[in-house]
């Protein structure tokens, strides 16, 4: 059986995280989670912090965390320009938790809930949460396997 595939590429400023042919991908955009299948119409959208789920050609799933960026869907090709992105297999969960608690404490200490600092902290918390969720999902997947 010859399945239709999408050329998928996810890059950050520092590296190319993944470049492969895939069957489908789900990404968190600012207007909700979308799933891209082969033959999707061209689309450009903004990503928010969350988990990306990819179905590889052998049917297995790969999980990634992303902290924001853009997705561009072209004919037969999907490009994600991420601010930061990591594959779940590469994330160290303990450190994620530590980073999250640290950021959360800092946020509680802040009196002013309007300033730039507040927003950057919130973004950091979102990012760490996304990483945490990615790891959890990854673990569950592996457990099933």
């Amino acid at each position: 059986m010859d399945k239709k595939t999408i050329k998928f590429e996810i890059v950050t400023l520092e590296r190319v995280v993944l470049k492969e042919k895939i069957l489908q991908v789900s990404v968190p955009t600012t207007s909700g989670e979308i799933t891209v299948l082969p033959g999707h119409i061209p689309l450009i959208s903004i990503l928010q912090a969350g988990v990306i789920e990819i179905k590889l050609t052998d049917g297995s799933l790969d999980i990634m965390s992303v902290s924001g960026g853009f997705i561009e869907v072209m004919k037969g090709k999907v490009v994600i320009l991420a601010d930061t992105a990591e594959r779940a297999a590469e994330i160290d969960d303990q450190r994620v938790n530590e980073a999250y608690t640290r950021a959360d404490e800092l946020k509680k200490k802040l009196k002013d809930h309007q300033g730039r600092e507040f927003f950057s902290l919130t973004a950091r918390i979102d990012k760490e949460l996304a990483r945490h969720r990615a790891v959890k999902r990854w673990r569950r997947l592996k457990g099933i396997k």
Binding site: E14, I34, L43, I44, I46, F70
Partner: protein, 315 residues
Amino acid sequence: MANTKEISRRIKSVTSTRKITKAMEMVAAAKMKKAISAVLKTRTYANLSWETVLHLVQAPISQAEFSHPLLELRSEIKRVAIILITSNRGMCGGYNSLIISKAKESVKKHNLETDFILVGTKGSIIRNQDYNIVADFKKNDLITDSQEVYPLAKMVLDAYQSGKYDKVLVAYTDFVNAVTQVPRIKQLLPVTLENEEYLGIIGKDSKIGLTPEDAAAREEKHLSQDDFVYEYFFEPNPQEVLDKMIPRLIEVQLYQAFLEASASEHSARMSAMNQATEAADDMVNELTLFYNKARQASITAEIAEISAGANALAE
């Protein structure tokens, strides 16, 4: 001629200096390698984001006229900001002086009110030269994280959007190869879609510095490969996407300038230290020759004395 003891002391000191310059050369070489690979890695992102902006602007959409404050040329340019990227430390030949003089030249040519934003400590030389400096950013010797440029990018974007500046330039040293680095001034804001400067598509080969014509040719080739017209669907809407995309593009560009500058710095230091090592080698050779001559002279003098004494006794 100086005595042997003095010469041997000098030989020792030159040899130990040579050790230091050799070590610095090796350190610079390692750092240069890292900096170059970072530039290459960033390219994929830079190219893809640039492509997306081009697609956005070319997309035939009637409901929204694509215009963005950061893309528009201002009719009157009153105030210019120059971001001057220099190194933190010396010992890198003419690296800093070249880029500083290039920046000064451009100020003279423009003849507009200019503010300087310094990056790296060596740029502060211009402090006592009657230039207006508005900010001084620190930078690491080896740039590995794009987050380093965010505060700077935010500062210039804010200042540009508020109308404080009508043009923002970056003065950095472009890395062509390990022996050639070219000081260059690039326009950061407003973003020009006609790529006079290579912001456009760049190939994957390791040649980092490119002529604008070269880059334009590559871009042409790259974009003509897929010739169907893109009719994009935007979420939430084109304006918002552009609003997010263009500042990001500025950050990417700045980050690339930083990386190029650091690759240039380390290779400049490497060649400067290489020359210093060679000079030390020459000096040691010369001093050794002097030392041997002095030694021989003293032996000859001693023999002459002894034989003179023997002769006197024999008579």
